[in-house]
Symmetry: C2
Subunit: 303 residues, 2 copies
């Protein structure tokens, strides 16, 4: 295995997750490159100690041992790797690509086939944990791929992950585990909104309701994190409604492809899609509560 100070990795996609992962790679002593269309993000990473940053990663492709893809969806993964400025064509054979966007199993398999044509390894490796965990190098990674892919990406996994779950060898299993995780995350946000909406209707102070639930068996990670935004009346997006429209669509498509019913997740998809269509798509995902009519929600608190 390469010594970490000679290991070269490029993080493509410097949003909150990608930026945290890239900084964790730098902190771990990896030679870290960054790529994003947003110049502000590129400058931030350059200031944090990246070897180089560019809107187009092809310029340093031939120096890389690994690429970590942290873009938003499958279309962006495919555009970066195989589009007009195809990165895959410039990477050295044997380079490992860790695909960490939330995508379908079918898309993961399609990308793996495309990478194999260039002699590239793939790890199907979605992540969870949010921006704070990413910044701390403690993301949860649910990964599937060959032993060779795991071995080649070990320095990156060590740098960015608190936990790595090795689901299996078959590409697509990582994607599926992430999608099932998102089923729970999405249903829990929607259920939190439904419960808080009912509390508002019943005249229960929402801060009290929040306190009770977060100290009892009805709590969820998402309730505790997102319903605080409702209590505070602050819908500044940490993660937007439209992310869960996308993710619950993936959940629903996965279930359709397996011929399997999902009574709760399909209902939650309906709630998020309705929230987006009502104009709340760019607000924090807790804004799904705004589709409940006939209630008075807390406004923004005075600072």
């Amino acid at each position: 295995m390469a010594r970490s100070n000679s290991y070269h990795v490029c993080v493509v996609g410097l949003g909150s997750m990608g930026m945290g992962a890239a900084r964790s790679c730098i902190a771990a002593g990896l030679q870290t490159f960054g790529s994003d269309l947003n110049p502000v993000a590129r400058e931030a990473l350059a200031g944090a100690g990246a070897v180089a940053v560019d809107a187009d990663a092809r310029g340093f492709a031939d120096r890389l041992d690994a690429v970590l893809l942290l873009v938003v969806n499958a279309a962006q993964c495919k555009a970066v790797l195989f589009g007009e400025d195809a990165l895959a064509a410039r990477l050295r054979p044997g380079t490992a690509v860790m695909v960490s966007a939330t995508i379908s199993a079918a898309d993961a398999k399609e990308i793996a086939v495309g990478l194999a044509e260039h002699g590239l390894l793939m790890l199907d490796a979605p992540v969870s944990g949010g921006a704070a965990k990413a910044a701390a190098g403690e993301m949860t990674v649910m990964a599937a791929g060959s032993r060779e892919a795991f071995d080649k990406l070990r320095p990156v996994l060590d740098a960015v992950a608190g936990k790595v779950y090795e689901i299996g060898e078959e590409i697509g299993l990582g994607a599926t585990v992430k999608i099932i995780h998102q089923l729970l995350a999405g249903v829990h946000i929607a259920a939190g909104a439904e419960a808080m909406a009912l509390a508002a209707r019943a005249g229960i102070p929402l801060d009290t309701m929040y306190e009770v639930v977060t100290n009892a068996a009805g709590n969820s990670w998402m309730f505790e994190n997102r319903m605080k935004h409702v209590v505070d009346g602050d819908y500044t997006p940490k993660s937007a409604v439209d992310i869960f429209v996308k993710d619950l669509r993936l959940v629903t498509e996965t279930a359709l492809s397996l011929g399997f019913p999902l009574p709760l997740a399909s209902t939650a998809y309906t709630m998020f899609a309705n929230a987006s269509n009502a104009g709340y798509g760019k607000e924090d995902d807790a804004a799904v509560i705004k589709t409940f009519a006939g209630i008075q929600l807390p406004g923004v608190k005075e600072k």
Copy 2:
């Protein structure tokens, strides 16, 4: 306020919650009585240091400062207090009755009226936390009632509760908070079952899926607690499917009385009712997963 060694309380209903609460009262130095139709439960509490136990609490009613009702539902509350062997008629005026069953706000108000006719105080005080918290004297209590009722029951609350939320003065608010809490608990169990069923369908090992979720943002208290039973193939009831048929019915009735839609909770009610009708009513509530057809679930593990 009475010194604790002269404070007399009777716990009516010695199931897992009531037994824990009664033992906590004994541990706190209260003169503790117990009542239950089940002789095994009565003997257990007698052995743990109760002053007296009986199937019928009326025998020691005139010595009591407080009654803690931990029976299953509103019908049992009313039968104990106002039925053929009405306890309310034997309690001294000013005795406080803490009604901790999960009941509707309407039933709580009806019981308060009945108690007031006998000059008795009522605290509308449902609890949460499960058997382990009850045994440790650390239940979560969500209570509504007069200052007088809170004051009179303070020694009991100190003995049995880790947290006491004072929701307000109006009887029914405690019941409503508990019902909204149960909305979340029930939806979270059903969502956990749905996610694990999809994982089984997709060929994901359920122990891996459980590990991933419990270490990521898709976790809930109920997922972590109940889906372990699915992984272990053990449906020995800790809390039965029929409890959530009852509680999600209360949720649904509460929403109907407020003219409010609950897309997820009404779906979850459907899932639990279907599980009960399929013959799983007395199994652990995680057995709601058994209504998903076309999957292979883990069997009981070898010990």
